[in-house]
């Protein structure tokens, strides 16, 4: 199972009639069990690319070879829950095969136990995002797509969930694509970090991280982080701001 991406270009025609180039040549490949991380400025075309890779948008120039018939788990950038179905029903509808112990465990990890019977309109944004995560994990995906999965969560929970995601990916050979603005997350989770330019997106750098996730020391992580920061040219690191 392998994902091969070669998007020559993708343009949107806005309702006002203007042409917007969003992707201007992105090519990379991803093997089963690998985690690819996409990092790029806001509005550069990451979500657009994920939609293309998931097969939701056939209107682009280029070629994408996806594992045929693979179960996809997609955490969209917004929760995209069915407002008229309870939290539990939302998860069960996407994953009819998931059994009760599995769901219980997921809800436990994501701290959603008290909210099983809530409707999405009764959740905080962070809770809704966690439901979207539960849904994506419940389908036991072979291809996992995460669009900023840890945004809107507090630091403690985010760090716990990051570890859970890592565990999940390592446990089974899930092919994962992660979009994040958090370089720390990128380095701790990714096997390959793909840096994108501002719109229209091009690949600035494709950095493989060869040390296995579990074995990465703080020093190595800091080194890769500063390497990434350096590549995103002209960008002051967050730590050094103000």
């Amino acid at each position: 199972m392998r994902l091969e991406v070669e998007i020559a270009s993708k343009t949107f025609k806005s309702a006002a009639g203007e042409q917007h180039d969003v992707i201007a040549g992105v090519a990379f490949a991803l093997n089963a069990g690998e985690v690819g991380v996409l990092v790029g400025p806001s509005g550069c075309g990451k979500s657009t690319m994920l939609r293309i890779l998931a097969g939701l948008d056939p209107d682009f120039q280029g070629r994408v070879s996806r594992p045929a018939g693979a179960r996809i788990g997609f955490v969209f950038q917004e929760p995209r829950l069915l407002p008229w179905r309870s939290v539990e029903e939302n998860v069960r509808l996407a994953a009819p095969l998931a059994d009760e112990p599995k769901l219980s465990a997921l809800f436990e990890i994501l701290e959603l136990k008290a909210h099983r019977n809530h409707f999405p309109g009764e959740l905080s944004l962070g809770l809704a995002r966690r439901v979207a995560l539960a849904r994506a994990f419940a389908v036991e995906p072979e291809f996992l797509i995460l669009d900023e999965p840890l945004a809107s969560l507090d630091a403690a929970l985010a760090s716990r969930l990051r570890d859970e995601i890592a565990m999940l990916i390592d446990g089974r050979s899930v092919m994962t694509l992660l979009v994040t603005h958090d370089v720390d997350d990128a380095v701790r989770l990714g096997d390959r970090v793909i840096l994108l330019s501002p719109r229209p997106a091009r690949v600035l750098a494709d950095l493989p991280i060869r040390t296995p996730r579990g074995a990465r020391g703080e020093v190595e992580i800091a080194a890769i982080k500063s390497e990434i920061m350096r590549r995103i040219d002209g960008c002051p690191t967050k730590q050094g701001g103000s």
């Binding site: 069915l82 407002p83 008229w84 179905r85 509808l93 996407a94």
Partner: protein, 245 residues
């Protein structure tokens, strides 16, 4: 409670109005009630009400089912909309009388002709409403359903239907009222029973109390169905909505 109050108010206003207008212009509630009871006693009321309800049920179901399907298609598929639109406007604006007369001419003075004619009259309004609903469907949820490979039925039931439901409710309520208006014409023109037939008779005799007795009986049946069946169901299925003040 509020419903009862409102109902009492309706009767009161009617009564007062009839006092002012005079019997000939608007019979007071007891007169109409007497007529209603007399018809009920003789069994006529139930016989005609039953006949009409059977026709209404059939035509309504037919038109709603077909209308929902066609409306959904026209809302989703551009080409279907383009092709179907002139037909839709034509059907929408075909007078009930013409449709019914043509149906009777083609299919004879039969039950089938009557029901088909009524259904054809109601169909386009259901299509038009559902088309708007289909156009307003949320693309984001659609993508979600596609990615998670929801089976066709589950997708329809859990993703699409809840979004269409306000449109279906609107089409059903106003559609029922339309069917009811048209069934009367159909019965008037060529059926030997039904409320429309009786109203035709009452009309020929210019018997206003009888006219009102039959009209209100039907309204009462619908009111009952609404209160006991439709509204509890609606309340349940819209629980998810943030409550308004």
């Amino acid at each position: 409670m509020a419903r009862l109050l409102s109902f009492a108010m309706f009767v009161a206003i009617w009564w007062i109005a009839s006092l002012f207008a005079g019997d000939a212009k608007l019979p007071p509630p007891p007169t109409v009630l007497t007529a209603m009871i007399a018809e009920a006693r003789s069994g006529n009321l139930f016989f005609h009400l039953g006949a009409t309800l059977a026709r209404v049920t059939l035509a309504f179901t037919l038109a709603m089912a077909l209308g929902t399907a066609i409306g959904y298609l026209m809302g989703r598929v551009r080409l279907a909309d383009r092709l179907g639109d002139p037909w839709l406007i034509l059907l929408l604006n075909l007078p009930a009388l013409v449709a019914i007369v043509l149906a009777y001419i083609w299919a004879g003075l039969t039950e089938v002709a009557a029901i088909a004619a009524i259904a054809i009259n109601k169909l386009p309004t259901a299509v038009v409403t559902l088309r708007e609903g289909a156009r307003a469907l949320d693309a984001a949820l659609d993508e979600m359903a596609t990615v998670f490979a929801l089976p066709r039925w589950s997708r329809f039931r859990h993703v699409i239907l809840p979004q269409l439901s306000p449109y279906i409710a609107a089409a059903a309520r106003s559609g029922l009222s339309l069917v009811w208006k048209i069934v009367l014409v159909a019965e008037l023109l060529g059926r030997p029973n039904g409320v429309g037939f009786e109203i035709g008779v009452a009309f020929q005799l210019f018997d206003i109390p009888l006219l009102l007795a039959y009209s209100l009986s039907f309204a009462a049946v619908v009111l009952l169905i609404e209160t006991l069946l439709v509204q509890p169901f609606e309340a349940r299925s819209s629980r998810w909505r943030p409550r308004a003040a």
